[in-house]
């Protein structure tokens, strides 16, 4: 009975991971590369590097926007993305000859180092890993469902794996890889050892993946986790044409005054006269992402029409803002990214060794089956 039960768990372990083995492996590998997408951008594109040989302080973001505006007088700036200190600040804009462009501005020198009118490696890796580039319909992408549903597969494989592997905790105290007892033993030992040492990582990836699945369903069902940015009331618009009195620099100052530890990450300028500045940034909260502060600032009055911070978040919003740093490994900077990258590789390796173990068992079973058939055919033929 105990044997049968073990066989059942073993089969279940295979059912969780084998049918979508190749896609799962691809998602693991692309996720692993995506961990270092910022660093790879720095390595491969000198124009994306924010070199600072003179150790200058970073210029205010509004000044970088002004630089783009000076260099391209007919441009309209839409948003600004601030990355790590070693990467340039990205200023997105439209121009008469550019439907969409990104200016890579060195935040220390103020120089525009590149105009990118295509896609970025960071976005490409994020889209490839997150939704396999499946197009977004209104509110959902089949690929996003497919990838986030991998969390169920991962959690199932983890639980069944731990049930099969009796006394698995011994892998912590007495890790073993038997190198001289055949290929299958090496593979099995590696698979088990990697699995046990990755329990925490598998749990983190499953939990955040399940959250992404919940989030996908909520997007699809049109349930807002965060309220829409408010609109300027028509009564607040002046009767005649004037420039809005609160410019981008002033809006940034208001945000900084409201939250002194505000570190800008994604800043959107108004897209019409009733639109507001939407300013997002991180703060001194280790577990929250770089969008945990969110302010809507009225360009006509300077009023903060809406604000969000970790202190005022609902439970769902909190989950939303702590999931990404845990999933991406960004919570402790480059060192945690390195750990996430390593365990990403281990996880990819587990999916490969798991498949190889299954493959060798299947080949053996097929051979055994053929031999049995042949043996049976001989006496039959002799009759």
């Amino acid at each position: 009975m105990a044997k049968l039960s073990n066989r059942f768990w073993f089969q279940l372990h295979g059912w969780f991971s084998l049918p979508i083995w190749l896609i799962f492996c691809f998602v693991c590998l692309t996720g692993t590369i995506a961990v270092f997408s910022h660093e790879l951008t720095w390595l491969t594109n000198p124009a994306a590097r924010a070199s600072n040989p003179d150790k200058l302080p970073a210029k205010p973001v509004a000044e970088l926007v002004a630089r783009v505006q000076q260099a391209y007088p007919t441009a309209d700036v839409g948003s600004v993305m601030v990355f790590e200190p070693y990467l340039v600040t990205a200023v997105t804009f439209t121009d008469h000859d550019k439907p969409f462009a990104i200016a890579y501005v060195n935040q220390y020198s103020g120089d525009i180092q590149q105009i990118n009118e295509g896609m970025t490696f960071i976005n490409f890796m994020r889209s490839l890993h997150g939704w396999l580039l499946f197009p977004w319909q209104s509110g959902y992408s089949v690929g996003y469902y497919l990838v986030s549903a991998m969390a169920i597969v991962m959690l199932g494989a983890l639980i069944t794996g731990l049930v099969i592997y009796k006394n698995f905790w011994r892998s912590f105290t007495r890790p073993k890889v038997r190198l001289h007892q055949g290929k299958k033993t090496v593979l099995t030992d590696l698979h088990r050892l990697a699995g046990v040492w990755s329990i925490w990582f598998l749990m983190v990836m499953s939990a955040t993946g399940l959250w992404y699945l919940v989030q996908a369903v909520m997007w699809h069902a049109d349930i807002d986790i965060e309220p829409h940015a408010p609109l300027v009331a028509v009564s607040e618009l002046p009767a005649s044409q004037t420039t809005a009195p609160v410019d981008f620099a002033a809006a940034m100052q208001i945000a900084q005054q409201r939250f002194p530890d505000f570190q800008p990450s994604f800043l959107m300028l108004p897209e019409h006269n009733r639109g507001m500045y939407t300013l997002m940034g991180g703060g001194d909260h280790i577990f929250y992402d770089q969008y945990s502060y969110n302010l809507s600032i009225n360009p006509w009055t300077g009023e903060i029409a809406n604000e969000k911070s970790p202190a005022t978040m609902s439970a769902l919003q909190t989950v939303m803002h702590i999931a990404d740093p845990l999933h991406y490994g960004t919570l402790g900077g480059i060192w945690t990214k390195a750990i996430w990258f390593l365990f990403g590789l281990i996880l990819s390796g587990m999916s490969i060794t798991g498949f190889m173990i299954w493959g060798s068992r299947t080949v053996k079973a097929v051979r055994a089956g053929r031999t049995a058939v042949n043996l049976q055919e001989v006496p039959d033929g002799a009759k």
């Binding site: 049918p19 190749l22 839409g78 439209t94 396999l132 609109l231 009733r274 639109g275």
Partner: protein
């Protein structure tokens, strides 16, 4: 049932591989986007405007409102002269007093062109038109319309 199960068992890894070929197709698609042709431009005050639907699909639901996405290109006129503008699809233009209560259907974008999630009925009818309502900083309210083309009416 047993047969489909056998098919799945035999070909599951090939199917995995086929799914992984799709990103290549989607990448090609995203690098070579195709849009339906823009509609004829119309003069409205100082502006000459041509709308272009982003696709030929029926309107989609966004919260409690059905909407259809358009891009408006301006061959004449200064977009900065617009105080506010809206696009709605229906038998008649919605009054500005009603439109300005909400954000649905508001024109947004840059001085080089405007995007809009036009307020739309769930199903487009032959009697519907696409109505553009602009208010200039001089307080002038301008309205024009385009008939809904047959290929959009036939969208399912």
């Amino acid at each position: 049932m047993a047969q489909s199960n056998r098919f799945w068992q035999r070909h599951k890894f090939k199917l995995n591989g086929l799914v992984l070929l799709l990103p290549l197709w989607f990448l090609y698609d995203s690098l070579n986007p195709e849009f339906p042709p823009a509609w004829p431009a119309q003069q409205l005050g100082q502006f000459e405007i041509a709308p272009m639907p982003l696709d030929l699909k029926p309107p989609y639901a966004h919260h409690d409102q059905y909407v259809k996405d358009f891009y408006l290109s301006f061959s004449q006129g200064d977009i900065a002269a617009i105080r506010q503008g809206y696009l709605n699809i229906g038998p008649a233009p919605l009054p500005l007093a009603e439109l300005q209560q909400h954000e649905e259907g508001i024109l947004h974008g840059s001085r080089h062109g405007q995007h809009v999630h036009a307020i739309a009925p769930p199903q487009l009818a032959a009697t519907d038109k696409v109505w553009l309502t602009l208010q200039t900083w001089q307080g002038e309210v301008l309205t024009t319309s385009w008939p809904v083309p047959a290929e959009l009416l036939a969208a399912r």
